[in-house]
């Protein structure tokens, strides 16, 4: 039992407890902002976990993963605009289209590797971005407001914030569990083997292309789900969500949290978004303590720190936060 009580496991357990108990805190303090923030965190964590499936475990670095957020979101948005609000129609369609898009992109991109793969996935995402920009009927580059959340006919009311939060959290936990089972299965070992040494995999008899393609599609579908949830959460969808720099954000979450584990990206998503909210205040507070007046500008420039921090993580803490915690065990 004692070797399960590692620093890492305790940390993860604490995070999970925090996520589950959050609405209780909100109800007690009336601070709804924190629930809104964490709903967003949980939704994006699903996207980050899906990206890490192909990136951390499969070695396929996709700089176009945000496209699926957009596809999932736009299917919901477009159907809603056309009067179709039924979740049971919107959601499966969104997932199907995400999967089909991933199939197409994967079939072409997976013939390349390294930086070429990165560029070609980026290019495909940009195409979707431009297409969305051109959809004047659905808002074009201003984006599309979604009047009502997906309807599930009395089964569950998504406009109830607490209920929605728990739904998203449940989906996140299901996603993490699913991905965890997958990476340790025969399928997952093939994917990891292909990342480790693709040539050897083929030499021992694995047609690696088809396995990687299936993995790519699964990741796309999961991210599409994240997009569906995001559109419901913000009641809004816009092409900006699909810009390649948003794909970069997802990559940052996975790397920051730790690409080597399934749960790592969840840590990364929490870390990134919490930092985004709190660091400006901390800087403001710090500047106040130092100079005696609150330097308002300082709060805005937290991204000045994020950039170099990312570089430092890449250089010195490649395993991300998860990696750092895992190393604590040995000390």
């Amino acid at each position: 039992m004692s070797d399960r009580l590692t620093a890492r496991n305790v940390f993860v357990a604490a995070l999970l407890a925090l996520l589950v108990l959050l609405p209780a805190y909100t109800h007690a303090t009336g601070n709804t902002f924190i629930m809104t923030l964490f709903t967003r965190i949980v939704i994006l964590a699903i996207a980050a976990v899906s990206l890490n499936l192909i990136m951390g475990f499969g070695g396929m670095v996709s700089f176009g993963h945000a496209a699926y957020l957009g596809i999932g979101g736009y299917v919901v948005g477009i159907l809603a605009k056309e009067g179709i609000n039924a979740g049971l129609v919107q959601w499966p369609l969104a997932l199907l289209l995400s999967g089909l898009f991933a199939l197409g992109v994967g079939a072409l991109s997976l013939r390349t590797r390294g930086v070429y793969f990165i560029m070609i996935t980026l290019a495909f995402a940009q195409v979707v971005y431009y297409v969305a920009n051109g959809l004047d009927r659905y808002g074009g580059d201003d984006g599309l407001t979604i009047q009502a959340r997906s309807q599930f006919g009395g089964l569950i009311d998504l406009s109830n914030r607490t209920l929605f939060y728990y739904l998203c959290l449940a989906l996140l936990l299901a996603t993490v569990y699913l991905v965890w089972r997958m990476v340790n299965s025969r399928f997952g070992l093939v994917i990891q083997g292909a990342r480790s040494n693709d040539r050897r995999m083929r030499a021992i008899g694995f047609p690696t292309f088809r396995y990687k393609l299936v993995c790519f599609v699964i990741a796309g579908v999961l991210c599409g789900l994240s997009g569906v949830l995001l559109a419901n959460h913000t009641n809004f969808i816009s092409p900006a969500l699909m810009h390649w720099t948003r794909s970069g954000d997802l990559i940052v979450m996975a790397v920051l949290g730790g690409m080597g584990t399934v749960f790592g990206p969840v840590i990364g998503a929490i870390a990134l978004l919490v930092l985004e909210e709190t660091l400006p205040h901390l800087i403001g507070l710090g500047s106040y303590l130092v100079t005696g007046k609150e330097v308002a500008a300082a709060k805005e420039y937290w991204q000045l720190i994020l950039g170099p921090m990312l570089l430092l993580v890449v250089l010195f803490a490649r395993g991300g936060i998860d990696g750092i915690l895992a190393r604590l065990r040995r000390d």
Binding site: V61, R111, Y116, M119, A123, V127, G134, W244, Y301, V314
Partner: protein
């Protein structure tokens, strides 16, 4: 017809700017095997520096010259501090590390120059149109861009083909280990090459600046096009970058100019307005995909890999 010629020239002009960016990128990628997402940041810095110096000195030329120096220095400092530790690592590390730099520079620019962006106004002599063909007039400034870039291309050609440093660059592009074995000061060479790339990118940024806005993030979109150019042209090949840049510039410009009308004509009016820009990008990416499938080393691969 007039419109066609004008768009053609615009396409070439865009191609020239793309070439400046792509030449630096392809050199850095070919010689140092480094994927640099922050290259667009140097493009942006060039524009901001030039705008500032033009404002300070009231002279367009002085502004450009000072801007170039500033960008060169900025590039070399970037290389020394942030890029050096990345050499030899895998491409994902490069992508992540330079993505961090990209974020950093966007915020730094916002800190120093504010979020609103700047403009550069051209000296009045440049604000005329010149007759390029009987009855066809084209803005002088855009012609200047084309001429200036051609001059730079020529200088680059002379540098790479006729000087000792150029020989090292060519050797490095086709065989990295060899150059190290020759006892050349690799670190210095890398810093110089990076600086050269930075200057080229900055030059492109400042040339472009009077035509559009100088704003945060201006480098991002054109950076992707530049990557497409070097993939089509061939990594490490300046000649490839030139040809591919002109092709891509033409496709992008002509696509935006004529595809919407074509679509309107054959499909519907609204489809034309929405689909137009997307279609011309799709064409470019389709070309890149085709190159990757049929000729992955690019159209003019650097020899010897």
């Amino acid at each position: 017809m007039l419109y066609l010629i004008e768009q053609c020239l615009n396409g070439i002009q865009l191609g020239m700017l793309l070439f400046l960016l792509a030449a630096g990128l392809t050199l850095i990628f070919g010689i140092m095997d480094l994927v640099n997402l922050a290259h667009g940041s140097l493009y942006m810095l060039g524009a901001y520096f030039a705008a500032t110096f033009v404002g300070l000195t009231d002279s367009f030329l002085a502004g450009i010259a000072l801007g170039l120096v500033a960008t060169l220095v900025a590039g070399m400092v970037m290389e020394l501090i942030a890029i050096r530790p990345l050499y030899g690592r895998d491409h994902l590390d490069h992508v992540l590390g330079t993505f961090g730099l990209l974020i950093f520079f966007n915020e730094l620019v916002r800190l120093v120059w504010g979020p609103a962006g700047l403009t550069i106004s051209l000296p009045s002599e440049m604000l005329t149109a010149v007759q390029v063909l009987p009855g066809v007039y084209y803005p002088l400034y855009r012609l200047v861009i084309i001429m200036a870039t051609l001059a730079v291309a020529l200088l680059l050609y002379l540098l790479v083909m006729r000087t000792r440093i150029g020989m090292l660059i060519r050797a490095g592009a086709s065989n990295r280990e060899m150059v190290g074995a020759l006892g050349v000061n690799i670190k210095l060479l890398y810093t110089l090459v990076f600086g050269l790339g930075a200057a080229l990118a900055g030059f492109a940024g400042m040339m472009q600046a009077p035509l559009a806005f100088v704003q945060i993030g201006m480098g991002e979109n054109i950076l992707i096009l530049a990557f497409v150019v070097i993939i089509i042209g061939g990594i490490g090949s300046i000649r490839g970058a030139f040809v591919a840049a002109v092709v891509v510039g033409l496709i992008d410009t002509m696509g935006r100019a004529f595809l919407p009308d074509l679509v309107r004509h054959f499909v519907s009016y609204s489809a034309g307005s929405s689909a137009g820009p997307a279609l011309s990008s799709m064409l470019i990416y389709a070309l890149m995909a085709a190159v990757l499938v049929f000729r992955p080393e690019g159209l003019f691969p650097a020899t010897g890999k």
